[in-house]
Structure formats: structure tokens, C-alpha cells
Amino acid sequence: MSPSADAAAPVSTSAPPLAPLIAAQLSYLLSHSKLPIRVGQIWSGCRNGRHSDRFTLSIPFCLDYVHWDFVYNALSPKVAPDVVFGPDDEGFQPLVDYAEAGNDASCLARWDYRDPRGLVALVHELRELYIEYHKKQVAKVDDARVTFELSTVLSKEGIEVCMVPSADRPDEVKFAVPLLDVDFDFNKLVPGCPWRLPQKIHLQVIFPISRSSSYSSVPSAPRLKLTSTSDLKSLFSVEDVKLPPWSNGMCLAEYLPALEESLNLLVVEASASIGARRRFIEALAPTFGRPIEADPIFCRRATVLSISGVFTFLVHFAIPLQFPKQQPVLTLQSSQHCNADGIPITSPPINDYPWSPRWDQAEMVERIYDFLTDECQNFKKFCSDTVTQQK
């Protein structure tokens, strides 16, 4: 019955429109929340079904998403929304805890149905409580190492933990540790950065829980993985980071400082690489003419128009993050030859031409130009052959 929202499903087109007051709250949430929240299914709970008033939100938690159903009533707009949590979270009872603590500071206590900020306040309040709930659940785990790790790193701001239940293996505990400073702002590194949401790099640490029966003096190493928000990939690739080794008997509090230090250096390097890429694109102009297209922010792509005799073609430059250590990948695209589907013929990516990172930008461009003078003849022949074969 509950719609699953695993995919970042676009708003279902068959659903009737959201009631205006609810739509205002939802759009305020999506435009103002600092979290990458996604909307799953939207549907109606009215008898006549003319207005939608309930939806599933996918809310980020511990490097994953939890799916909660938010239930409004289109025909009783003054009634505050109710929330149905996931099937595994029956122990999460935020309002019961409020009642026991005599706490009525919740945003629900002074719910104003006309205020579009209501939903964003509710989602953030519940997420905070959910994080605390999971910290308490993990603290109940009977495992000396996990208890120790909790006592040392739990105070780190923004950390999230949860249990990973699995049917065929013993349970595991997952830590999502934010790296770099909490207020570290990637947007400041990149002028004109288009990212709306704050970008983060997290270290995911999964501790296996040792069964009390199998006694061993040294617990096995945790599984470590670096993850980043998806937008960050155009500036910095966490897959390229080599994690320092985890030695026996180590704990997170020892491991994190070294990792953060090396990560800081890499991030500074990555932002410096933007400058190198920009200078390379600027150096294209004297030789190839002004690029007809270029990525002005991360400087990862540029396209120039070239002519050899009567043969006109485009050259696409894909500039890697490790530029200038790695050379740009070239793709040639003919402006005069199309394949059977009417799509311009392109060459396979070329990255085996002469290259040295020690050349200055102007020389890099010169060398590429020289290489292409020959290569474009091969490409022209390739295009002609393809077109002839079609006839």
C-alpha cells in the first residue's frame, strides 16, 4: 500500500494537483532545505480524489535514504500533518517521548497551516530526533569496540550512526563521519559555483559486531569507504583518494586526523587544478580560435571548430580532474558526415597522443594542434568510408 520511493521518482503525472496550502509547504521545503530531500509518490486521500494531500519524502540519513509518508488532509487544512515512518522504525516514537518529557517545543505544538515553513521545520525536527534515536539504538549494542568508538567520536558534529541488520550475517554498525570542517564551504573554492546544497565528504565505516561466543583478541578491521555528494564529482573524485591503511587495534579517533589532513591537501589541489584547466582553455584560442563552447566553472570541457582544407570538424576536449598529470581526452566530430541515423560521425576518444605535464599551456596546445593536423586526415578518411559503406 505504501508507495515505495526508491527511485528519485519525478512527480507522478497521474496524481491530481496538491492542495494549494500543502503545495506551498512542499515547494518551500524543496527550495529551502539544506538537505537533498526527494519527493516520491504524491497521491490523494479525499473521497472525491480531486486534490492530492499526501506524499512520500525520501530523507537522507546515514548515507542512505529513509522514506516517510506525510499525511495531510486537503479538506481539513487546519489539521497538522501526520507521519507514517518505515516498517522497521516502530520503536521511533517522537511524540510519545515528547509527552513523557513534558516537551511542547515542537513545531507541531504551534502549527500554523498558512505558514509555508511548517513542513521544513517538521522534517528537520524529526530527522534530528531520528538521528538521536539511532544513536541510542547503537549504544545498546553489546560490543566493546563499538561502545568505545561511540564514546570517542560521537561528539563530532554531524556524525550519524545506525544498525545494519542483515539476515545471513551478524549485525553491523554503520558510522557516517563527516570529514573536513562542518562549515567547510566548497562553494568558496570555486568562483561562480552553481551548487545550491552544501557539498560534503563522508567516511563510511562499517564495524562488524563480534559475536560474544567467538572470542578473538583483535577485532577485525572495519570496512571503510569515502563518499561524497554527487555534485562534488565535477570538482573532486573521492574514488581517486587512497585511504590510509587501518592498523590492528586502531580506533576512529586515531584514524580520522591523518585522513582529514591529506583530504584537505587534495581538495586544495583540486581547486588549484581548475586554474590549470582554465589556462589551458584560454591557450586554445590563439591556435584553434575561440572555443565555441566551454565549461566556465569547472573548466572540464571545451569544444573548438577546426578546418583542414574543405573538411570542417569539431574537436571536443574532455579535461580530467588530474590535469595536467593526465592529458585531455579528444573526440573529433565531423560537421559534414552523418551516419545512417542522421547523427554526426564522431571518432573514438583519443588519449594516446604525445603529452608531458611539464610543458606549459601554449606548448600543450601546439603539440595537440600538430597531432591533429595528421589525425584529421585519418578521421576524414574514416568518415568517407563510413558514408560510402552506407550507400
Binding site: 500500500m1 505504501s2 492542495a19 494549494p20 496550502l21 497521491w43 490523494s44 486521500g45 479525499c46 473521497r47 472525491n48 480524489g49 486534490h51 494531500d53 499526501r54 509518508d69 499525511v71 488532509n73 486537503a74 479538506l75 481539513s76 487544512p77 487546519k78 489539521v79 497538522a80 501526520d82 507521519v83 507514517v84 515512518f85 516498517p87 516502530e90 520503536g91 516514537q93 517522537p94 511524540l95 510519545v96 515528547y98 509527552a99 511542547d104 515542537s106 507541531l108 505544538a109 502549527w111
Partner: protein
């Protein structure tokens, strides 16, 4: 995680369930309300009659029986609680307490998962505390209904699930629907007749006994213009005068007829008022 058999028996009469589902379907949106009924500790019903004694050797533990007989609802979402799920009676008089016969509450949410929501859970805790000490100690009952209809309204489905508040969690429990028939004979062991008729002195010798206004009122609730003296005479005579009996029965039917007409009229007025309310709500929600 259903309850073990034999700890708590939940039952609802077919008519009460039909009325509850109709209420949930007829509401324009979601709705909730109180459930009334009876909770009792009863010895387990005797095993099926048998010629063999050895089968009925071990008497079972007394089981807790909760049977739902009716509900009351304002056809409005969240009418029982504030936004934080704290119970408040639906009447304007906040000092009034729910009728002692409340055994729990129900909530109807269209097309939603059959899991208790955040507020329902809080309401269960709060209502359970309010009812504590007022009734036979029993876990609070919660029935969650999720009506849904096919897009062209040709098929309506009603999913429902019962829960009991046990150890601060709402645990799903099985709910028996009781209908009339030999298959439900067990249920009648739990039946105790309760007549609203006043207890009258049956002996004609007490004719001089001045009956109270209260007693006359109780009789008037069932039949108009049938003096208490006549009722006394009727009860007193051993033969039971057929004519008097017929007269009383006809009077009862007339009374019922009158009540039915009144109900019909007031229903129309309620419907009119509900339609007016609906228009106001549309305006309030900016959906004109």
C-alpha cells in the same frame, strides 16, 4: 508478531464493523473516533461437548475478551487529539471524560500504509493513561482502517488491522468478526442481558406504591402514553392479558416510527450542514 492465542480475544460484531467501515468511507477525508464495548476476564468457554471426559481435563486460563460493540466519531481527522497526539475529548467541555465503556479508538486514513502513524501512537499512550483505572484493566485497542477506491469508484476496498498497546508498542492482533449463527456460539457465553426497563414491583398488592417520575420516564422512553400502572398490571397478572400486551407493542412501534422520522429529518439537516461546512473548508484551503 501476532499475539499468542488465548491471551486476548478481540472481537467485533458484524454490524458494528459494517457501521465503522461505513463511517470511514462516508467521511470526506480521514476520520477518527472512540470505540466502545466491553472488556472482561472470562473463564474459557467449555470445550465442545464430548462423551469422553478425558478431553476436558485441563481447564484453560481465564482469557481476556475485548468485544467492540460500537463507535462514535465526528467524521473529522484528528478529532481526538491535538497535533502532538495528546488526547482531548471531542466535546467542547474539556473536563468531560470519555464514557467509561471506551475500549480504544479507531483511525481511518485513505490509501495509507497499515502501520500506526506517529500521532496515533502518541494518542494510544495518552488515551490509555486517561482510561486507566476507569475500566477493567486491559490493553488499549486500536483499529486502523484504510479505505481506498479504484479510479472510477467502481470498487471500494477496506483494509483494516487491529492493534493492542502492549509494552508501549502497538502490536498487531487478530480481530474476530462475530456474526449470528452456530459458529459463533462461543460468543454468547460472554453475553449478559442488560435491560433498560425499570425494575418494578411485580405484586399487585403494592398498587398503592407511588412510582417515581424517574420510573415513568424510563417507561416513556420505550412507549408513549402507557401508564406505569398499566405496565404494573401487565407484569402482575399471571395470565398476561393479550390485549394489553398488543396495545403496548403497538405503542412501542408508534414510538419507533416517530423516532425514525425524527432521525430522517435531522439526518437531512446534518447533511445540509456538512455540505455548507465542506464549502467553507474548500474556501479555507484555497481550493475554490
Amino acid at each position: 508478531m501476532a499475539l499468542r492465542d488465548g491471551t486476548t480475544n478481540l472481537s467485533i460484531s458484524g454490524a458494528a464493523l459494517a457501521a465503522l467501515l461505513h463511517r470511514c468511507a462516508a467521511a470526506t477525508g480521514d476520520c477518527d473516533g472512540l470505540l466502545f464495548g466491553r472488556a472482561s476476564h472470562l473463564p474459557a468457554p467449555p470445550a465442545a461437548l464430548s462423551d469422553y471426559d478425558d478431553l476436558a481435563a485441563a481447564p484453560r486460563d481465564p482469557a481476556l475478551t475485548i468485544s467492540v460493540s460500537g463507535h462514535c466519531s465526528l467524521s473529522h481527522p484528528s478529532s481526538l487529539s491535538d497535533p502532538l497526539g495528546r488526547f482531548h475529548p471531542p466535546s467542547s467541555d474539556h473536563s468531560s471524560v470519555p464514557a467509561p465503556a471506551a475500549v480504544g479508538f479507531f483511525s481511518s486514513r485513505r490509501r495509507t500504509a497499515l502501520r500506526p502513524s506517529m500521532r496515533e501512537l502518541a494518542l494510544a499512550h495518552s488515551l490509555s493513561k486517561t482510561l486507566q483505572g476507569r475500566t477493567t484493566a486491559h490493553p488499549l485497542l486500536f483499529i486502523l482502517v484504510s479505505p481506498s477506491a479504484s479510479p472510477n469508484f467502481s470498487t471500494h476496498s477496506y483494509d483494516y488491522r487491529a492493534f493492542l498497546l502492549l509494552a508501549s508498542r502497538l502490536v498487531p492482533a487478530s480481530l474476530t468478526v462475530v456474526n449470528v449463527g452456530p459458529g459463533f456460539r462461543d460468543q454468547y457465553h460472554a453475553f449478559s442481558p442488560e435491560s433498560p426497563m425499570p425494575c418494578l414491583p411485580s405484586s399487585p398488592a403494592a398498587a398503592g406504591y407511588a412510582h417515581t417520575i424517574g420510573e415513568q420516564k424510563a417507561v416513556d422512553e420505550m412507549v408513549d402514553g402507557f401508564g406505569i400502572g398499566r405496565l404494573q398490571g401487565l407484569l402482575g397478572s399471571a395470565a398476561g392479558q393479550a390485549a394489553e400486551m398488543d396495545d403496548m407493542y403497538a405503542g412501542m412501534l408508534r414510538k419507533l416510527e416517530k423516532l425514525a422520522t425524527e432521525v430522517e429529518k435531522t439526518n437531512i439537516r446534518v447533511l445540509e450542514q456538512e455540505n455548507r461546512n465542506l464549502l467553507l473548508r474548500f474556501r479555507c484551503a484555497g481550493m475554490e
